[in-house]
Amino acid sequence: MNAIQIKNITKRYKDVTALDDVSFAFEFGKIYGFLGRNGAGKTTLINIIANRIFADQGEILIDGIPAKENMGVHEKIFCMSEADLYDRDLKVKDHFKWTNRFYTDFDLKKAFELSEKFNLDTNKRFKALSKGYQSIFKLIIALSLNVPYVIFDEPVLGLDANHRELFYSLLLKEFENNERTLIIATHLIEEVSNIIEEVVLIDKGKILVQETVEELLEKGYSVSGAAQEVDRYCAGRNVIGYDELGGLKVAYVLGERTVLPQESNLQITAMNLQKLFVKMTEKGVGEND
């Protein structure tokens, strides 16, 4: 199977269970949004996939090959992480050269071209770069590597709006030119909602939802109107949250939409991905609850 398969992964830190028997797959050829609140377990799982820490239980398979302590998977996966794992005294151009020696699939020429696009001075040392440019440097390395699986952990941290747009468009270009799996872990949900095809939502160490963005948006909606009428409508439905404003009540609902009767004064509107995310992780409800 061409995928990153995550099988029954559990990770505990003292009395905290960071990941609780997590199983799912990132399939080849899709752009994923890997979403979750702070402390939900995103980075822990990414670090396990990237072989930086080890799980207490379970295993990761990359294209069917066990990832744990296996140098072979380095040609398959790259993880751009939020933490800075680079030598701070080395110049950007030297980082590129070393990366080129470590990875057979690094495109050195592309790295310099992208640096020009982002106006990154490759003669600067890593420590002399601003927060935003440190992110850009890491992004350029990730974008220049021709591996089938690339994970971006908070890729746009500290980037200004222009650079974020540039990054997203380069990412899509990469994806078009060279089919692969791109996994984006981010808190800026609305920015990526049109870019990602599928969402994996993790909450309190468990996978809450794995679904295409389209299906998810289809499913979540809000109903607003007079409190009593809203309550009547919501009876028996999967309500994930309420907002109230005087006599006006807004209910956030998951499930099939039904056509309102002609005389109804209720209003049904769509929810965007961010709103859905906030409501789902506030209460921590799964779709079958």
């Binding site: 468009s169 899509l172 609305e190 870019i195 965007n272």
Partner: protein, 127 residues
């Protein structure tokens, strides 16, 4: 072109509608090429699979077609096809919505008809 993630309509449908509108208004004339999935995807920052899904709606409706190795082209007769489709949707999309709102406002059928006539008169004067 522009998509709005906040309205209650899937992005691929929005893309199909906007391409259709551009074809209808002559931005992309018949038998000419429309932008590629790649270009639209990069321009609007939208997943290329979503863009492709939107294009396939128009392929299914025989408004555009794929020229092997070249890209998507507007089909001959596409404009007329779109016109017919929209005319047949006119009743459901506009007339029914108009009546429903009019009833909420307790306006009579005669009120509506006179408003329509007023609209046509204004249109004539402004032209």
């Amino acid at each position: 072109m522009n998509v709005n993630p906040n309205i209650d309509k899937p992005i691929f449908i929005q893309i199909a509608e906007q391409l259709e509108d551009s074809i209808f208004t002559g931005v992309f004339p018949e038998e000419t090429q429309i932008p590629s999935t790649n270009e639209i995807s990069a321009l609007l920052s939208i997943n290329p699979h979503t863009v492709l899904k939107g294009m396939n709606v128009l392929v299914d409706e025989e408004i555009i077609y794929k020229k092997r190795g070249l890209g998507m082209f507007v089909k001959e007769g596409a404009v007329e096809k779109i016109r017919q489709k929209r005319q047949s949707q006119f009743y459901e999309q506009y007339v029914l919505a108009l009546i429903s709102e009019a009833m909420k406002l307790q306006m009579s059928k005669e009120d509506i008809i006179s408003l329509i006539e007023r609209g046509y008169n204004n249109e004539r004067h402004s032209n």
